[in-house]
């Protein structure tokens, strides 16, 4: 047994409490330990990818108990890739949080960050369905703390909605797991897959109900229409770096969908095309709603939130096809869209720090306008899928994978038309923020309005200090914030330049996912020497 398999869970689980207990009052130590911890996580992630690249599936049996009785962690290509992606995103965003000073706006930012990473990595690595629930709760409870970091009325209100929605989701998850357990008598995912495959077709009514229940839960996490209502307010009101980290959280839902419905409920078994039939229309609606939302919103945070929803739509369109080719397209697009969405939230935060709020309206020229504009447009081009960046490659792969399926005309038209809408929405926002500002003349914005009912001049004054932004004047190391944003963009460029190897890796991952026998065999066989 390779003990480094459990390192992505244990490492943050040790560093988090250490930060709370030993360095509560020393922000510098917190920063050093937290960043070093995330960097170590990235190193472990690289190592795990290296060993998983052999195509072998590694199993870590906790306490050396035999599966399916003990809990197992399972490392395959997909899990390894997701852990590395989480670590890379978290590292860049954490540097941003330090550079912009967000981490000192409230208590326990770095400890919560580590608990968040523990939950996310655990969800990717676990091979036990109930354990997946527990890791979901770990990552959710840390995200509740991170989401209201810095406080403020709107953020707390959005936080209440976020918690209430996710509590209902967790309840639903338990119900789904209960149904699955009552039918299969196991919670180990590999064991469950084996028993589902052996089940006579006439006994599968409850099983199908369980499959749809868990699908609903994962759709809530992934923010698929019509279960997306929690996302815009939450992400728009969360601190910028936290929203950027949350870019991976919706992907946890997508990961769980891919894992459950390639391993436990493959398409040709009991559930037939039931789930694909549900997922595809939802994904098309999600894409359309996200991209129209980009056009319709008047708030930059919401613009980024709707962009996140739209990218989930494209991703799930590919996932819903259940073919190896489409799954590999989904995996490539998943990496790209996580980096691009994260980068967009950081750029929006950079804009907020310079403009004083996030409303999409005419304002004075902000400091460093050209630089931020360049970052914004690179991110926007990558996100909507225009050449030359990886979004283009990703969308092309998705289009290719859906070229000869029965819904292909609908899928192609929705993807292409909504891309146009998103291009229009993002470029309109960009020209308003970065270019039209040169037409605004006059003195600095007034400090406070005398009469809020009658705003003076062409620029409505800010009503009160906005808790949604971290002021530029409070940023301890602005260069670091810019560099961190650049790091994510460098990731996008790397995904473009190395598109060939990346696509080959995605294809190998998809092949492994669509051949679950290896996964099941690794977990359930070769258990000599266990208890």
């Amino acid at each position: 047994m390779n003990h480094l398999l459990i390192a992505p869970v244990v490492l943050p689980a040790v560093i988090g409490p250490l930060i709370i207990m030993w360095m509560r009052n020393d922000l510098l130590l917190q920063r050093v330990f937290s960043i070093v911890g995330t960097a170590l996580l990235a190193v472990v992630g690289i190592y795990l990818n290296w060993i998983a690249a052999s195509g072998e599936v590694f199993v870590y049996r906790l306490g050396n108990w035999a599966a399916p009785f003990g809990i197992v962690l399972v490392l395959d290509r997909l899990a390894a890739m997701m852990v590395l992606l989480t670590a890379v995103l978290a590292l860049a965003v954490q540097l941003y949080a330090v550079g912009s000073g967000w981490d000192r706006k409230g208590w326990h930012f770095h400890a919560l960050w580590q608990f968040q990473l523990m939950g996310i990595c655990g969800a990717f690595l676990t091979g036990d369905a109930f354990n997946l629930f527990v890791f979901f709760e770990v990552l959710l409870i840390a995200s509740y703390g991170l989401m209201i970091h810095g406080g403020g009325e709107m953020r707390l209100r959005a936080g209440v909605q976020y918690i209430a929605y996710n509590l209902a989701g967790s309840t639903l998850f338990l119900a789904g797991l209960g149904v699955l357990y009552s039918v299969t008598g196991t919670l180990n995912m590999a064991d469950m897959a084996m028993r589902v495959a052996q089940m006579p077709a006439e006994d599968t009514a409850l099983l199908r109900a369980g499959a749809v229940l868990t699908m609903l839960v994962f759709a809530i996490k992934a923010a698929l229409v019509p279960l997306h209502f929690w996302l815009p307010s939450t992400y728009a009101n969360a601190p910028g770096p936290v929203a950027a980290l949350f870019a991976i959280m919706t992907k946890v839902g997508v990961y769980a969908i891919i894992r459950f419905y390639t391993l436990i409920f493959p398409q040709d078994a009991v559930t037939e095309t039931l789930l694909g039939d549900l997922l595809l229309p939802a994904a098309l609606l999600t894409l359309a709603l996200g991209q129209v939302g980009i056009l319709g919103t008047r708030h930059l945070g919401r613009l980024a939130s709707y962009a996140a929803i739209g990218s989930i739509g494209t991703l799930v369109i590919a996932v819903a096809q259940y073919t190896p080719q489409a799954t590999s397209a989904a995996i490539y697009y998943l990496i790209h869209s996580t980096l691009a969405t994260g980068a967009l939230f950081l750029v929006v935060d950079l804009i907020g720090a310079r403009r004083g709020d996030l409303w999409l309206r005419l304002d004075r020229v902000m400091p460093g306008n050209g630089m931020i504009a360049a970052l914004y447009f690179i991110t926007a081009i990558a996100l909507v899928g225009m050449p030359p960046f990886s979004g283009f490659v990703g969308k092309l792969l998705v289009l290719q994978a859906t070229a000869d399926v029965s819904w292909s005309v609908t899928i192609w038209s929705v993807i292409l038309i909504t891309s146009l809408i998103a291009i229009y929405g993002l470029s309109r926002a960009g020209s308003l923020v970065f270019w039209k500002c040169y037409e605004v003349e006059g003195p600095d914005r007034p400090e406070a309005p005398k009469d809020p009912a009658a705003p003076s001049g062409p620029i409505p004054p800010r009503l009160e200090p906005d808790e949604q932004i971290q002021d530029l004047g409070d940023a301890p190391a602005n260069w670091l914030a810019l560099t961190a944003t650049g790091l994510l963009l460098a990731g996008i460029v790397a995904m473009t330049v190395l598109a060939g190897p990346a696509v080959r890796m995605a294809e190998a991952t998809a092949q492994q996912l669509h051949d679950p026998a290896v996964y099941i065999g690794s977990v359930l066989q070769g258990q000599e020497g266990t208890k």
């Binding site: 909605q161 509590l167 009552s182 008047r298 709020d357 705003p455 009503l463």
Partner: protein, 121 residues
Amino acid sequence: MEFLLSSAIGVLTAAGVYLVLRLRTFAVVLGTTMLSYAINVFLFSTGRLVVDAPPVLRYGAETYTDPLPQALVLTAIVISFGMTAVVVLMALGAFLEGGDDRVDMPRADRLPDHRAGDDGA
């Protein structure tokens, strides 16, 4: 017994769903608590209903009840307990900051030039 259990789950779930859909945080918190009670009872039933039997399996045992759902319920109780504490604190924070206990977002969240607390009515 089956009827008692299933009707209890049904009533708790119905009450929970109704309360979760209310617009005030207190009712929503109560609703999520009801829902988690319903699910805890439901999880018990997933191991089949057995009365007066130990939750252990031994060779030659006449009757036993499935111990795993009991462990799951224990975990679920602990988690929902913690989550309820978090949502109560958060609701309290929102009430103290915003001055009311509404669940829906005020208009100032979506549109500029509205004061916080302006519900757009």
